[in-house]
C-alpha cells in the first residue's frame, strides 16, 4: 500500500511540476517541446532493459529485444531531431546559417 501511495505521489508530483513548467513554454517552441518529450517518453527503455535482468525464455528475449530497439530508436531519434530543430532557431542579428 505504501508502495502504491509512493508511486501515485511521484506521478502526481512530476505531473504537477511538469505542468507548471511546460505551461510557460512559448508557442514558438511547441514543436521542439513535443519532439523532446516524445524522446523522454521512450524512458520505457528502462523497463525493457530490466526484462534482461532475470533469466528469460526465447519468446520473451525476442519481445524484449524488439522493445529495446523501438525505445532506442525513439530516444535517440527524438533527442537528435529536437537538437536539429532547435539549431534552426536563431535570434535577430545572429549570423545566418
Amino acid at each position: 500500500m505504501t508502495n502504491l501511495l509512493l508511486m501515485v505521489g511521484v506521478f502526481l508530483a512530476s505531473f504537477g511540476v511538469g505542468y507548471m513548467l511546460i505551461s510557460k513554454v512559448p508557442t514558438l517552441l511547441h514543436t521542439p517541446l513535443m519532439s523532446m518529450t516524445n524522446a523522454i517518453s521512450a524512458v520505457t527503455i528502462l523497463g525493457a532493459l530490466l526484462l534482461f535482468a532475470v533469466p528469460t525464455n526465447t519468446a520473451h528475449t525476442v519481445l524484449g529485444a524488439i522493445a529495446i530497439t523501438a525505445a532506442s530508436f525513439n530516444v535517440y531519434g527524438g533527442f537528435y531531431i529536437t537538437d536539429r530543430m532547435l539549431g534552426l532557431f536563431r535570434e535577430k542579428g545572429s549570423d545566418s546559417n
Partner: protein, 666 residues
C-alpha cells in the same frame, strides 16, 4: 539513498524542461533532458545486472542507428510525421514491456502491478496503432480526410467495451488463459487506436498528435508502476503533462472540445452544409482568375511596394507547396526596401503545435519576427498588406461573423483588418472546416491562385520590374516644384533639416546654394541638426561645413524646436526618422520616445526625400501624409536644383543656379 539519487535525476530532467521556456536555452535544455535519461539508464544498469548483454547491446545499437538515420534524413516538413512515428515506437516498447512483465510470472505481481500492466498494455498498443495512422496521414501515405465507417461511433464504443471486458477478465483466469487474453487485449487496443484516428482529419492532427504525446507518457508511467520504478513513473508523468497541455492549447486554439474532435459525429452535418451552397462557384472563378493573373500580380506587387507594414500569414498550404524559402526571400527583399515585415502564427496552422515556427526557422527566419495570434491581431489594423500563404480557416472571418459553422467562435488571425489582402492559396476551395472563406470575395483582396511556391516567386519578380508604373498617378513633378517654390518664395522663415539622405545624394552644395538664394530674397534660413542625423555624431555639421555653411546657422535640437511653430517652411532633405512625429504620438515603435525635430509644427513642410519609405527604424512617417506637406520625391540634389531654377524664374533674378559652379556665398 536510492530515492535521493532518483530524485536527483528527476530534478535534472525537470531542469532541462525548465530551460525550454527560452528559445536560446532550449537547445541546452534538450541535452540536459537527454543527459537525465542517460543517467537513468546507467543507474538501472548499475542496480540490476544484465544477463544477456549481447542481445541488449545489439538491440540498443540497431535502434540508435535507425533513429539517427531517420532523424537526420528528415526535413522539417516531415517533422510531424516523424514525431508521430517515434510516438508509435514508444508505444511498442510500452506494451511489450507490460506484456512480458505480466506474462512471465517469475515473481508475484501485486494487484496494483497487474492493473497498471493491463492499462499500460492497452494504452501502449493504442498509442502505437494510432500513431502509425497519424504518421501515415501526415506523410500523405493515407488520405487525410476523415474516414468514417458505417456506425463508426458504435464500433468504437463496442471496441472500448470489449477492451474493458477482456481487460478485467484477465484478472480472474489462470495465467495460461491470461496470456491469450493479453494478446487479445493488445489486438483490441490496436484496432481501437486505428478506429479512433482514421476519422480524424488532416487539420485536426495537431490535437491527435498532442493527445498521442500524452498517451505515450501515460503508457510509460504505467510501465513504471508495473515494475515499480520511480524514474519511469516520473519521466512518463512529465511527458503526460506536456501532452495534456499541448492538447488543451490546440483545442483552445481551434475553439473545440476534445469530444468534438474525437467524436465528430454530431458535428458532421453543419460541416458539409455550407460547402454545398456555392460549390459550383470556386471552380469557375479559378479559371477566370488565372487568366487575369498577371494583372493581379502587378497589382499585388504595387501594393507591396507602397506598403510600410506587411504581415505574412503562413498555413499548411505553404508547407505543402514548400514555399517557405520563397516566402523568406520575398520578405527579405521587402525588408531591404524598408518595409516592416512580420509573420502571424496561428496556433493550429500546420499539422502539429508550432509547426509553422519550425518551417520558418528552417527557412532562416529570425524567430522574433514570428508573432503569435493574440499579439499580432491588433496590428492588422495598421498593416498595409496581409500576405496569406496557404492558409484558409485560420483567417476566415466567418468564424466571428456567422453562427453555427464548424469554425464559429474559433479564434482567427484578423487578416481582414489589413488595408489589402494578398492571398496566395492553391484554390478558392474552403479549408478543412468546409466553410467558405468570405475573405476571398472582399474588394481589397487580391487572389493569386495556384502553387504558392511559384506565386511568391512571380511576386518577387514583379517587385523588380514593376517600378515605372507606380509613379505616374501622382501630380506632375513640375506642379509640385512650383508649389514648393511658391511656398519658399512667400516664406519669411525657413528651417532646413538635413539627414543622411542629403549626404548620400551629395546634395549639400546645392542646398547651400538654395539657402543662399533664399537669404538673398530676404528669407531667414536656419539649419536644424538632429544629434543622430547621419552616421556619426556631428555628421551633418561636418557635411554642411564642407559646403561652407556657417556654423552659427546650424541649430541644435533643443535650440531649434521652439522655433518651428513660427516657421513658414520646414525643408526636409533626406531625413526621415528624426522628423517622424510617430516617435511622440505612438507607443511601442522602435522610435517611441526618441526626441525629434518638430518639423510638423511648421506651416508648410517640403520633403525632398528619395522615396516615401520609412527610415532605418522601419516606422512609417505620418509627416508625409500631412496636408501641409509637399513631397518632392527623387534625388535630393535634382529636387534642390529644380527649386533653385524655379525660384530664380519666379523672382526674376538671373541666377546660375543649375550650373552650381559659382556659389553666391553672401
Amino acid at each position: 539513498m536510492t530515492f535521493l539519487i532518483d530524485f536527483f535525476i528527476i530534478s535534472v530532467l525537470i531542469f532541462g524542461i525548465a530551460l525550454f521556456r527560452e528559445p536560446l536555452k532550449a537547445r541546452f535544455g534538450n541535452w540536459t533532458a537527454a543527459f537525465a535519461l542517460l543517467c537513468a539508464l546507467g543507474l538501472v544498469l548499475y542496480r540490476n545486472g544484465i544477463i544477456d548483454v549481447g542481445t541488449v547491446l545489439i538491440a540498443l545499437l540497431v535502434g540508435a542507428v535507425l533513429g539517427h538515420a531517420v532523424a537526420r534524413a528528415a526535413s522539417m516538413i516531415q517533422i510531424p510525421s516523424i514525431v508521430a512515428f517515434q510516438h508509435g515506437a514508444g508505444g511498442v516498447a510500452a506494451f511489450l514491456v507490460s506484456f512480458v512483465e505480466l506474462t512471465r510470472g517469475d515473481h508475484a505481481l501485486s494487484l496494483v502491478n497487474e492493473i497498471s500492466g493491463v492499462l499500460g498494455l492497452t494504452i501502449g498498443a493504442l498509442t502505437f496503432s494510432g500513431s502509425m495512422i497519424a504518421s501515415a496521414k501526415l506523410a500523405n501515405k493515407m488520405r487525410q480526410a476523415p474516414q468514417i465507417l458505417p456506425a463508426h461511433t458504435l464500433l468504437l464504443l463496442s471496441n472500448a467495451a470489449l477492451l474493458a471486458m477482456v481487460g478485467s477478465a484477465s484478472f480472474f483466469v489462470s495465467s495460461q488463459a491470461a496470456t491469450f487474453l493479453f494478446v487479445a487485449q493488445i489486438l483490441l487496443a490496436a484496432s481501437f487506436g486505428i478506429l479512433f484516428s482514421i476519422r480524424i482529419g488532416g487539420a485536426d492532427m495537431p490535437v491527435l498528435i498532442s493527445f498521442l504525446n500524452a498517451t505515450a507518457g501515460f503508457a510509460a508511467a504505467l510501465c513504471g508502476m508495473v515494475i515499480e520504478n520511480q524514474l519511469l513513473i516520473a519521466f512518463g508523468a512529465t511527458v503526460a503533462a506536456s501532452g495534456s497541455i499541448l492538447t488543451h492549447v490546440m483545442c483552445k486554439a481551434m475553439n473545440r472540445t476534445i469530444a468534438h474532435i474525437f467524436l465528430p459525429n454530431l458535428k458532421k452535418q453543419p460541416l458539409s452544409a455550407p460547402k454545398t451552397t456555392d460549390s459550383a462557384e470556386p471552380a469557375f472563378s479559378l479559371k477566370a482568375k488565372s487568366s487575369g493573373n498577371e494583372n493581379d500580380l502587378k497589382r499585388a506587387a504595387a501594393i507591396l511596394k507602397e506598403a510600410q507594414k506587411v504581415v505574412f500569414v503562413p498555413g499548411y498550404g505553404m508547407a505543402l507547396a514548400k514555399a517557405q524559402q520563397e516566402v523568406a526571400a520575398l520578405a527579405t527583399r521587402l525588408m531591404g526596401m524598408g518595409i516592416e515585415v512580420k509573420y502571424a502564427i496561428h496556433p493550429v496552422a500546420g499539422r502539429m503545435p508550432g509547426h509553422m515556427n519550425v518551417l520558418l526557422a528552417e527557412a532562416g527566419i529570425d524567430y522574433d519576427m514570428l508573432v503569435e495570434m493574440d499579439e499580432i491581431n491588433p496590428h492588422f489594423h495598421f498593416t498595409d498588406a496581409a500576405v496569406i500563404v496557404g492558409a484558409c480557416d485560420v483567417v476566415n472571418p466567418s468564424a466571428n461573423e456567422t453562427e453555427g459553422t464548424p469554425i464559429s467562435g474559433m479564434p482567427i488571425l484578423m487578416a481582414q483588418n489589413a488595408k489589402n489582402i494578398i492571398c496566395c492559396n492553391f484554390d478558392k476551395k474552403p479549408g478543412y472546416s468546409g466553410v467558405e472563406n468570405s475573405l476571398y470575395g472582399r474588394e481589397n483582396t487580391i487572389m493569386l491562385l495556384g502553387d504558392a511556391n511559384k506565386t511568391i516567386r512571380d511576386l518577387s519578380r514583379c517587385l523588380n520590374n514593376g517600378k515605372p508604373e507606380t509613379t505616374g498617378e501622382t501630380k506632375s513633378s513640375g506642379d509640385i516644384t512650383l508649389e514648393a517654390a511658391t511656398a519658399l518664395a512667400c516664406a519669411k522663415k525657413v528651417i532646413i533639416i538635413p539627414g543622411y539622405g542629403m549626404a548620400l545624394a551629395k546634395a549639400q552644395f546645392t542646398i547651400a546654394e538654395l539657402a543662399a538664394l533664399l537669404t538673398e530674397m530676404g528669407v531667414e534660413v536656419k539649419y536644424a541638426i538632429h544629434p543622430v542625423a547621419g552616421r556619426m555624431p556631428g555628421h551633418m555639421n561636418v557635411i554642411l561645413a564642407e559646403a561652407e555653411v556657417e556654423y552659427d546657422d546650424l541649430l541644435e535640437l533643443e535650440e531649434v524646436n521652439p522655433l518651428f511653430g513660427e516657421t513658414d517652411v520646414a525643408l526636409v532633405i533626406g531625413a526621415c526618422d528624426v522628423v517622424n512625429p510617430a516617435a511622440m504620438q505612438m507607443e511601442g515603435t522602435p522610435i517611441s520616445g526618441m526626441p525629434i525635430l518638430l518639423a510638423h509644427e511648421a506651416k508648410k513642410i517640403i520633403v525632398c526625400n528619395l522615396d516615401e519609405k520609412p527610415g532605418y527604424s522601419g516606422v512609417g512617417n505620418p509627416l508625409y501624409a500631412n496636408p501641409n506637406t509637399i513631397m518632392m520625391l527623387g534625388d535630393a540634389k535634382a529636387s534642390a536644383n529644380a527649386l533653385i531654377s524655379s525660384l530664380s524664374r519666379s523672382v526674376g533674378i538671373t541666377h546660375h543656379a543649375t550650373h552650381g559652379q559659382e556659389r553666391t556665398g553672401l
